[in-house]
Chain length 611, copies 2
């Protein structure tokens, strides 16, 4: 029987019948066997990762979720089994029985958990064939993102993806166990909810029974978790799916998952210390990494002052310094009269070439800067296009303020406050990367506190809630509600990991009057507030306990813990930036009947907009 | 200061300021204190369940999620605290500090975990006031369902509801721990998916970016979990939200939750034994109830024959018997020529009055029966309107077939097969309730197996999948696909608990050819099958392992374990039968802007249909 013939026969047989496992029953997974099991008869099942013929032996790497085991087909073991093994191709699915043997002397594979053994096949069964996969199913793949998403089920067989899903599972188990032990109840809240005017754009779900009416998918379970506190649930959590219909940036998904937590009868300290225990456990159980608690805290104002952002990465120093007072009367047009002037001293940065500085300048421009002023501090002089505009007094003041040493480089930004902070804050990270200031495998956790309650939104020309409209002001600022909104601090806190916000929360208004004032400050008249949030205001008048909470972005947390580049690498079936699923082709067209049942019509411009 | 005056003052103070907990820090919950803690200073927080003035003392039952503690305000302890306590009303939220004291001799409340102690208040703080609740917040409430749903947050304070949510949490934790220990990964699948033509009606979500296109909310994660198996995830589970836009019966919700499980390289036995371990653990950890494994099994055919339904309640006997052969030539018009005649012997049922039999007759009619034939077996004669039509031979044959004894009652149904089974199958349960044949607090678990693969749908005049289109036929019946669909058995199994289907699953087609034949048998031409399920068919050709799974209705399982009457009692925020949320008023109207962004218009008949 030729090899080709036998392939066809066996494939045909297996295409015709729904293949049962027969008398094969898996005894181990593909990463469990070791030299303590020599001589045992085992049964493994998995995918053919590769086949090599060496002399009269056929070697196959058998792969499952857990790892690889080398299996060997030998004519001395079972001639028929060896003969049939010639049909094996990449990604064929097989079950084997065999004997665990040591690898020949000098042949162990130290990169493999099962590298000291191999399994000599005594019997095997073809469970399924496979067409040739469209890309290489290894960590280092040749596939484009498009191909990976279209064949996501193949992509998920890559060990790195299997590992990511496993770590995600471990994180959620650690979260659940910690919260369960701490008296939290996992309570599900509705996904068919009501659209509210605050926040991002809602995904809508037309109602068939109440025609002309719509559910909204929740942006978070915020109101429901507060209502649970009012309902006496005391300690709630949920690993909750949330939805935002926004134009997607690289690191956003239309649906995402948050670890959502709420507690009654607590203040900020209670929530922060509960959270620290939770994060400590997650790191310990998934990475065996010890984080030190309590986490350091930084006020929002100080974070903005020293790092230009509200989520600074403190794995490295590189603080910003406000030098407005020193340079505001400078002869240089770059500085003169600027609202804000900040400097970042880069120790031993003077080695940067002109070309490298130009690259940083381009980067600064992407954050709205006009350019990038710089000074190289040399032993004898300052090298800078601006040097001649800096007076001896200014120079002395800068030396003192920035604690300058020979060999330093200074980057400046001057102009509008937001631009200066954004540009230098982001430049800071790129500078750290360039100078390799960020230690490998280190995790820096940090609380940012004392956020403003409101921020002015120039688009809608009104104040909007920095956190959300249910956040309580600090008690001392309560009188300022409706008077001087920009001076009110919120009882809010963010958890920052390596410069990424991974969680945030607040103490909520549990007092109806406070919540009414909050709505008024946000520009709701009382009728509108009642219409949109009447049920909440009424609930606050029926015995609402003090409460607060926090929520973590599970996708982002998992991305950071697995050191993945994108949240799409830690979500089983992610969507593209156009919010489509390349595998199932969602969203799709639906029938006229379906639309009619929902009393909906497509507007006439629909077809035009299609492209 | 009058009581009224002080109330106003204190309320006013607390309405004006966002009240902090100050120096109060909770030390215990309201069901923890006992006589081992006498003399301890404690801090409790909770709701005022009731206030009684007895002499100069004021007694308050303080309630939280966990239970009640009696607290005592005494002028001897703190005169001001005692004075202020007169303002306390139902559902006020307070924090107290106090000393644990024994209750006076002879006064312990044995119904209360904290019944041996009371707490003398040394200091307290009003955390919030409450308007008078619209209904009584006790297990035995006076509230209508409408009122309960509108004020769900008050309803949830009732101890029975708090207990239900806690048991639901315990069930999910037991499930998660068991599956985690068994190597399952909790993997999230998308909620924004694609509408498919099989199954129930989908909820649709219009896409803004791809205008004219729609996502569908999943009816189950079926295809995704199969794709995860093809992706090598091996053992998957998810406590997954599912959606069906159907007209709601009492025990249905538009969104519901299932424990969704899938395994690779397994057969039916593997899934059933995994499931038995899971269910055993759930009962043990939530109710401390020992279920015996393995569960008994009953084929679908035998279940229909003996119980008239595919989910029989085996907590009691009352089997049905096919007596068609005995009675088909009867002189009675009731029996003559009927497709099927079945009898149910009710031991010692002859005591039933005529009026009671009439009530059962009315019940039978609600299941499509024309009436209810009956015979009372007396020592000397058979009492029945039909007695005179029954020949001596028929009588003897019935006596033998039904093993009749004096005092028995027989109910008969004759006619079309489905009606006979449905009517007697449902009557069986009501008869058992009437005669109190169902033991209290007992749980009967049962597998029903060997389901048909297809059933004929008279509406669409075609065969539809009994389970779903991805279920594999038993191997021996594979050749019948496309030939004699009604003779094919499926590799499917249901788990039945006390007569309710709580779970079901199957081994899936992992072979593309088998799946194509299945689609053809369901009436898809190959083009349509490719269009709708092309990604699945392609995945099956790229190394799909044998796999199968099961899913449990978490709401229903929790309802049965908590002995609740409705799944709405085990869902935090359920919807009404019209799929509305009475609390938040979802679904609601949305703005023109929102519709325009989605390229949608309401059809003209929308307003008419509103009522």
């Amino acid at each position: 029987m030729s090899e080709q013939q036998s392939t066809l026969d066996i494939q045909k047989e297996h295409q015709q019948y729904v293949e049962d496992l027969g008398n094969f029953k898996r005894t181990h997974n593909c990463s469990e066997l070791n030299k303590n099991m020599l001589g045992q008869e085992v049964c493994l099942m998995g995918w053919v990762q590769g086949r090599r013929n060496l002399g009269k032996l056929i070697f196959v790497d058998l792969r499952d979720r857990n790892g690889l085991t080398q299996i060997v087909f030998s004519p001395d073991e079972n001639a028929k089994a060896h003969e049939n093994a010639h049909i094996l191709r990449l990604e064929y699915v097989i079950a084997i029985k065999g004997i665990v043997r040591p690898r020949p002397d000098g042949m162990p594979n130290k990169n493999l958990k099962t590298g000291e053994i191999e399994v000599y096949v005594t019997e095997w069964k073809l469970l399924n064939t496979s067409k040739t996969p469209p890309f290489v199913l290894e960590d280092d793949t040749d596939a484009s993102d498009t191909l990976r998403f279209e064949y996501r089920y193949l992509d998920l067989r890559r060990p790195v993806m299997a590992k990511n899903l496993k770590i995600r599972h471990q994180i959620t188990m650690a979260v659940r166990n910690y919260l369960d032990e701490s008296g939290f109840l996992d309570i599900e809240t509705p996904l068919l909810t009501r659209s509210t005017p605050e926040g991002a754009r809602d995904f809508l779900v037309p109602s068939r029974i109440s025609s002309g009416h719509f559910y909204a998918l929740p942006q978070s379970p915020q109101l429901f978790k507060q209502l649970l506190m009012i309902g006496g649930s005391d300690r709630y959590y949920q690993i909750a799916r949330c939805f935002r219909d926004e134009d997607l940036r690289a690191d956003r998904q239309p649906e995402f998952t948050q670890v959502d937590i709420e507690m009654s009868f607590v203040n900020e300290e209670d929530i922060m210390s509960m959270t620290e225990g939770l994060i400590k456990k997650v790191f310990k159980e998934t990475l065996d990494y010890d984080v030190v608690t309590p986490f350091p805290r930084l006020s929002y104002d100080k974070a903005m002052l020293e790092y230009g952002v509200d989520k600074p990465d403190l794995r490295f120093e590189l603080k910003l310094k406000d030098v407005t007072e020193i340079l505001k009367n400078s002869e240089s047009k770059v500085f003169a009269g600027a609202e804000l002037i900040k400097a970042m001293r880069i120790p031993d940065g003077a080695s940067l070439s002109r070309k490298e500085i130009d690259a940083f300048t381009e980067l600064a421009k992407t954050y709205g800067a006009l350019g990038l002023a710089w000074i190289k501090v040399k032993e004898d002089e300052w090298q800078s296009p601006l040097a001649k505009f800096i007076s001896p007094e200014e120079k002395t003041a800068l030396e003192k303020a920035l604690d300058l040493k020979a060999g330093d480089l200074i980057f400046f930004q001057a102009g509008a406050k937001d631009m200066v902070n954004t540009a230098l804050g982001n430049l800071r990270i790129q500078v750290a990367k360039h100078f390799k200031l960020i230690p490998d495998n280190s995790f820096n956790l940090l609380w940012v506190t004392e956020f403003p309650l409101f921020e002015y939104d120039p688009d809608s020309k009104r104040y909007i809630a920095c956190h959300h409209p249910f956040t309580a002001p600090v008690q001392a600022d309560f009188e300022k509600l409706g008077v001087s909104p920009d001076q009110i601090k919120a009882r809010a806190y963010d958890l920052v990991l390596n410069g990424t916000e991974v969680g945030g929360g607040s103490i909520r208004n549990h007092n109806a009057e406070a919540q009414r004032k909050m709505f008024a400050a946000l520009g709701f008249d009382s009728e509108e507030a009642e219409k949109q949030f009447g049920f909440l205001l009424e609930a606050l008048e029926l015995g609402a306990p003090p409460h607060g909470g926090i929520a973590f972005g599970l996708d982002r947390l998992t991305m950071l813990l697995t050191q993945s580049e994108s949240i799409r690498d830690v979500i089983a079936f992610p969507k593209t930036q156009k919010a489509t699923c390349l595998m199932t082709k969602a969203p799709g067209e639906v029938s006229e009947k379906q639309l009619k049942e929902l009393s909906l019509k497509l507007s006439e411009n629909t077809n035009e907009k299609k492209s």
